[in-house]
Symmetry: C2
Subunit: 649 residues, 2 copies
């Protein structure tokens, strides 16, 4: 790999500090050394004493300010800007906030206080060491191979991982999981004889305030150890995990914890021994607690061998039915990690009802930065607006807390980075990584403003470029929704790859992902009155709102109700006409996005413009295919013509 794009930290973004005096408080915390090295890198003049009148000063805050270890305050007075930090992490995050402010000409004449909303802000890499025959090296990865592993082992040269760590620190990420949640035999050995790999990665991430997490195989005592069981209530098993964890934490004192996908999609778990998820999670939690580490236990548990003929089983119900009865039983250092929707990272799903239902559990929200179902980094889809909607959703009603306030266990996301030159496949997909870090820190940030922030850092101050990229990305998630999945229906994708349309692709599958379209109508009846009862898993007012076809929001209508094609939406259109209209408009908008990118040729560096232009061409082709397949399918099935007489094949 020769070319490597600097993402949002090009030399230009540092140039505002060049020549400025910078004072960093004395102290031997490694993270303060990191800040000093950053100052040197920017060409600033490090001044120990006396504190200079201008430039930047990084000093501890008064205890009275009550800042947490990652918090900081910024203030500008005359020529001097001051970062007052609660702990050394705060100094590092404050440093990068200053970079963002300088690049955009922002001053804080009134002191501004910054604290992360979540203590845990983690990226989960679904990277394999051994290349999986179907999933490849990075499961659901669209950016080439792993940045960690090559040729069946840790890379010799970890300099790129270090640059990655710096990029993540600059947006506030403080934890990284270094292997796939689907743990293969090779990867399971990261816990045993290949622990050295984790240790080396941890050493690279540590100067950037990032703790390393490990996905583990729940059956490791069986598969790696000498035991004939992995029953979590068996004392030998608990001891095995205690010993294994002590070995890990002795070599990696700041080890972050385990990530576990148990009893899900074929992975082993406590059910094999008649135990429940609390038994399993707590056993691991107790091994980790002495070391200040957590276990993240994924709530993504459902029957993936469902019979499509069986309409009473509803995959959407599964996480709630499995985990809510366990609320209150999880140890303090268990984090229950819940996907944002009840199915699986669809472009549009209602929010998972598990999150509001588990008041006594540390719940983490899981997002997907990698674009598995949202265009696979060949389509330009800026996801921060989706995440912002999710984080701002108020499950108990408009005057009650937003989801972001209910989540106490952290924010997690599946990473979108690989070893390609742009890190993220599509150059514009970098915006998603950026937006994720910033929203994980502060979920109230405006995604549109974050987009401008990212553009300014990455592309500089050409107003036409900024306006053009903003126009392309700002509404791109809704555009993608419009030419793919109508009204919350989901899973109309090619089986396996999840790229491109296949209206019936998952309709007769064992995966529990159906739309039940027939000649008269479409959608899944998840009401309490006549359906699977899923709507009843929500608190009020949403239980009632989702239950009634009169009050359910249009965008999730088909997730909750089976309706005739002639059903009239709140928008005034019929369902079938909505399908036609949105697919025509969405594909046209994709073409418009490509044209807008075309107009930036010459203004954006050719080595960025060209690969993105190729992806825009693919997005237009794919959006057209989506439009025509979806429209044709529903025209053939419903027999109802487009009111506007457009071509449907």
């Amino acid at each position: 790999m020769t070319f490597e794009h600097p993402m949002w930290l090009p030399d230009r973004a540092l140039s505002f500090l060049t020549g400025l005096p910078v004072h960093v408080a004395a102290g031997d915390e490694p993270l303060l050394d990191t800040v000093r090295r950053e100052a040197e890198r920017a060409g600033a003049v490090l001044v120990d004493d006396p504190i200079p009148a201008g430039g930047l000063t990084v000093v501890p805050a008064d205890a009275a300010a009550g800042l947490g270890p990652e918090g900081f305050e910024l203030s500008s007075a005359g020529e001097r800007t001051t970062v007052s930090y609660g702990g050394a992490h705060g100094a590092l995050y404050g440093w990068f906030q200053v970079l963002r402010d300088l690049a955009r000409g922002v001053r804080h004449d009134a002191p501004a206080r910054f604290e992360p909303a979540q203590r845990l802000r983690v990226l989960d890499h679904w990277d394999n060491i051994a290349v999986h025959p179907v999933m490849g090296q990075v499961e659901r990865g669209y950016s080439g191979g792993s940045i960690f592993y090559a040729d069946g082992a840790l890379r010799d040269d970890l300099s790129r991982v270090e640059r990655y760590a710096r990029l993540l620190a600059s947006i506030g990420i403080n934890a990284v999981t270094v292997n796939n949640v689907n743990v293969g035999r090779r990867e399971a050995r990261l816990l045993s004889d290949d622990l050295g790999t984790v240790e080396r990665l941890a050493a690279v991430f540590r100067p950037w305030g990032i703790r390393v997490h490990l996905s583990i195989d729940f059956a490791a005592p069986l598969n790696l150890g000498d035991l004939d069981t992995s029953d979590p209530l068996d004392g030998r098993v608990a001891q095995w995990w205690a010993d294994a964890t002590t070995r890990v934490c002795t070599r990696i004192p700041d080890f972050g914890g385990y990530l576990v996908k148990a009893d899900s999609e074929g992975q082993p778990g406590p059910h094999a021994y008649g135990r429940d998820h609390a038994d399993g999670a707590n056993m691991l939690a107790r091994a980790l607690a002495p070391h200040g580490a957590v276990v993240r236990w994924r709530a993504f548990v459902y029957n993936h061998r469902q019979d499509w003929r069986d309409r009473s089983t509803d995959r959407a119900r599964a996480a709630y039915d499995t985990f809510v009865p366990l609320d209150g039983r999880f140890d303090d250092n268990v984090v229950l990690q819940v996907k944002y929707g009840p199915l699986d990272f669809q472009t549009r799903e209602p929010l998972s009802p598990v999150i509001p239902a588990m008041a006594q559990t540390n719940v983490a929200l899981e997002l997907q930065v990698t674009q598995e179902y949202t265009g696979q980094q060949r389509h330009a889809v800026y996801l921060a607006p989706q995440w912002s909607e999710i984080l701002g959703f108020r499950p108990f009603g408009e005057d009650r807390p937003a989801l972001a306030e209910l989540v106490r266990g952290g924010i997690a996301a599946v990473a979108n980075v690989g070893d390609d030159g742009f890190w993220t496949g599509h150059p514009l997909a970098q915006a998603n990584l950026y937006g994720y870090g910033r929203l994980a820190w502060d979920p109230t940030l405006d995604p549109s403003a974050l987009l401008d922030e990212w553009i300014a850092l990455t592309f500089g101050d050409d107003a036409a470029v900024a306006a053009g990229i903003h126009a392309i990305l700002d509404d791109s998630w809704r555009t993608y929704e419009s030419y793919t999945a109508p009204l919350g229906v989901g899973f109309m994708v090619t089986p396996g790859s999840h790229y491109g349309p296949a209206v019936d692709g998952y309709e007769y599958s064992p995966w529990g992902t159906y739309h039940f379209a027939d000649r008269d109508g479409i959608g899944v009846d998840r009401t309490v009155a006549t359906g699977t009862g899923y709507a009843g898993q929500y608190p009020e007012p949403w239980a009632s709102r989702f239950e009634s076809v009169d009050t359910v929001p249009d965008e999730v209508l088909l997730f909750f109700h089976h309706v005739p094609y002639t059903h009239r939406l709140h928008s005034g259109r019929t369902v079938i006409q909505h399908i036609y209209d949105t697919h025509f408009a969405g594909a046209a908008r994709a073409a418009g996005m490509a044209a807008e990118w075309d107009a930036l040729r010459g203004r954006v560096d050719d080595d960025v413009w060209m690969p993105a232009a190729e992806r825009f061409a693919e997005q237009v082709r794919s959006a057209t295919e989506w439009r025509d397949q979806v429209n044709t399918y529903f025209w053939r099935t419903s027999g109802i013509a487009d009111e506007r007489g457009r071509t449907i094949y």
Copy 2:
């Protein structure tokens, strides 16, 4: 591999010759030596002189008998049976005919004459040397790995290949292609630096009268040679092929020829240089002619990047449109190899119109023994009745020649053999290999009688076993048709794997394989009057019969016509009711087949019974899935209930 099933040549089948005197005419033809070794293997007593009064005598026929080199006559007089052969090949085939007769108690008191209907009777192995990442080692192989190659090279131990050669000789096969028609880079080297592999295989097949063929890369002069072109009209290219072929035939004097898939599904061909298929085929034919070898040029050429929106392009037309204008232009040693149907080895297709249309071309018929679309050797499907129907089809009408008489270039088929213990995955799939060889020799043989012949040789003389297996297999192809593809519609299979149902799986694909089902009807209008005109590619009377919805045979109705679900078949049923009835009946019959196999437990060796029983369980599961997915799809789409009120989901 420890276990290896003897197929239709168990020791029992030889035992009838044990102790009998056998006389083989003097002569140093290697094939006569093979007959002598066979006699020794059977425990017969070889007698040179004088010719014994009883037992078996193998002697040259009078020239006046006019037997071809592979022909022979059998006659029994008193205790003596005589094989009179036209050539040494005839001696070998006569020998195995005697084995078949003895096992079944058949005598020829009146002399019986045997001549193969086709000079070329070939099995094409789609074996790769390097394992293909998607297709595996054997493309469309359902019997494990290749019997030829392992670990990226020819196997060291070729003893199994020799046993395979003997089995093929015993059913009259006289040629084998040793590599996949889709020629990879590794396999292309069989023509150059890895020619030794072909030479070694030819040496194994030679004593069994089998000539080796090679699939070649049309672009080899570019890819292997020093040329910058593979233009067939470029003299350097012709010389390159002449030189390469001379090298091959010097080392393999009985080399059979090349098999070429050109300008098809991404393979290179003459079109890249503005040349046609006759230019390409003749160029290779002229390189081969001095060595008495042929080029088999596949007619499987179509646009595999079709737009599903385009209803005017019809893949079914492609081979005819491409090749019929070239009739008369092919050299004598060109064989145009045509798949039996215009699409691709579907369970039911009308016969390819290319075969009757090319009177001045040596056309070979291509069948598929490997069960790509017919259950992949997990379903018990005896295909000889299908092949018999194809071979007996009379394109010019009932009093005119059958297809088998129009074919002069030979009979080819894709092999179904791999390195598993039964050679063919499902133990009962051996019947297809057997039936193929026997029908290639004599297309007028009755497939039901061939089935009994195979059962007697393979399973011996337990009448209950014979009746049971006969009952299971005899109508199994029509059973498979009934629970899968209705009325000639085809391609309702899982994309890629081609196993299991997906009604819309290929409906929006670029492969040209559509059914156009909508809420009102289904089928492809291929009439001249209103459709693609494909029906007009047939001679009379079939052009008119297929053209009219009144005269088209029910079983290919949807191949030629788009009709409403309420269209009434000749059977008296509506299309929709036919779909329901056949799918219910077919799945029930699959369960019946499994029950019949179950009843043979204890009568069939457990090491054969058990693996077949596992496959019958899978067949029942799969047939049920086919039934329900197809019925549900058409019920949802048509809204027409089953007249008999059976469960449709």
